[in-house]
């Protein structure tokens, strides 16, 4: 099974997620600077999510570059990743609307954590398909950065209830 359609499908989903997030910025009814200021938290959460999605898309790009074939398990591992990423517009809008309240920020962190786990699963299903000696397995190495980011996300969620801004920095 060739990887082309999985790439095309993933590109489409990433680009739609990144673009419909902007629909969460509700158009102000007035044309004052105040209304812009009130949009600031929504803008900040949009910027954050855009960056995360950019990182995921760029990593996805690198991950699939090293391989040629996919199987059913990889397709579903990929859909699993896209499932969690598809929640980003929802949590972004909530974080923005609630001005970085603890619960939405914690939920945001949870979605990122589950997306990181899903990315981990996808990478490992690709390695198990192509073998431990493949280019991909060597390139990923011990995937230290991946594991560290999962731990960081898991740590950030409880912190979110006390200091949402610290959690965001993490």
């Amino acid at each position: 099974m060739s990887k082309n359609r999985m790439e095309a499908f993933s590109d489409c989903v990433h680009s739609i997620i990144i673009t419909i997030m902007v629909l969460g910025l509700s158009v102000p009814s007035e044309a004052h600077f105040d209304s812009l200021q009130r949009l600031l938290p929504a803008f900040m959460s949009y910027l954050l999510s855009f960056t995360f999605l950019g990182i995921y898309w760029s990593n996805h790009h690198h991950l699939l570059q090293a391989i040629q074939n996919v199987d059913g398990r990889v397709l579903w591992a990929n859909l699993h990743l896209l499932f969690w990423l598809s929640f980003i517009p929802f949590v972004t809008a909530w974080v923005g609307a609630s001005r970085f309240a603890p619960l939405p920020v914690a939920l945001y962190g949870l979605v990122l954590l589950l997306a990181a786990v899903a990315y981990f699963i996808l990478a490992h299903s690709l390695i198990s398909l192509h073998g431990r000696q493949s280019v991909l397995a060597t390139a990923l190495g011990r995937d230290f950065k991946g594991k560290i980011s999962i731990v960081l996300c898991a740590v950030a969620i409880p912190i979110a209830f006390f200091g949402p801004l610290y959690a965001c920095c993490i």
Copy 2:
């Protein structure tokens, strides 16, 4: 006629359907656990629809892999399938908003039934184009799984009026 553009078009439509469904999750105005709980039915119906669309996309992927060419009839059989799939965001949102009320669940089943029938027609128009001896025809075999799922959907619709949850399990 090459199959590339039909694949690209179908990938795009599948990915848009899967992503705009999340717009059906309305952002709560408050940041309590209660508002999350109230979103639970919408989340469940989203999860269900995401899975169905994942199955359709994955099947579509397998179906088109075996073939090289398409004709006008196949294009329209494909559009017919996408037409019914495009209703999934609507019925998902209704099922979620009405907390799995009988009528929306029955309608959801009807949409799935019609999509299954459309998939069946697409598969058969591909077989009639490539001949009974083709790889595709052999691969689909008697398509037992396809027929059974159509029957199951047809059975589930009347049940939905009495016990929506049973119908969902089917």
Copy 3:
């Protein structure tokens, strides 16, 4: 200049237009048959627009199949076509919401007319790029069907003010 990206861009725009139209079907607040019945005009206009967009996409597919290269003029003729097609979700929603009132139906016809004209311009800019002796020019022949549909649309618009349903049939 190769035609690949223009095809990919057009496929994406067609598939987004076809899919976001379904967002025009507002989710009923109740779960009765009445609320379904009230959605009937919106459903009918959706069905009509889906068919038109399917026809345009399928024609676009056939048109670009015969050619290999595009230039800047073709890119803009294509964008011009997509511009008018992008209004279809808007007029579809209005026709549905107003239950086929004269003005929205006339506007719907106007959008279709301008899209047909834009398609005509696109076809002719492709012919002028590839020459009168090309496969494309022969295939399009005198493009009788294209011209007739422009005339029909132009006739349907004034009729819409008296009998919207007759206009739809045309």
Copy 4:
């Protein structure tokens, strides 16, 4: 790293931005000519944005045609461009809703300015990847047009506060 996925991703994002803008045209509740007239400013800003996005997509198409490979820096320069373009539906809707009030028009100009700067950065990261002697560097020449449009945008923003329509013309 091949440029294919970056092209596909950019095509998707451009086409989604161009299409969801039309969701900013709210469907009138009545079917009078008055309601159409009230939509005129929204329609004008939509037309303007469609043209700008068409120009960006067409330039993007030309820019990537001359090259074969991309690296991580180019991916991010491209995402940076798409980030600013993704604000166009928001500022378009605001300009339309406020009937070309000074602040939204100035913000619109600011978004265009930042997109022009991002395009400039993308072009230069491509040149630095492919070398000063490459086809691309020669083709872009001194990129007089690009620099002039950045200056014009920068000039247009303060003007917007006094005469929004003059700013639009620029």
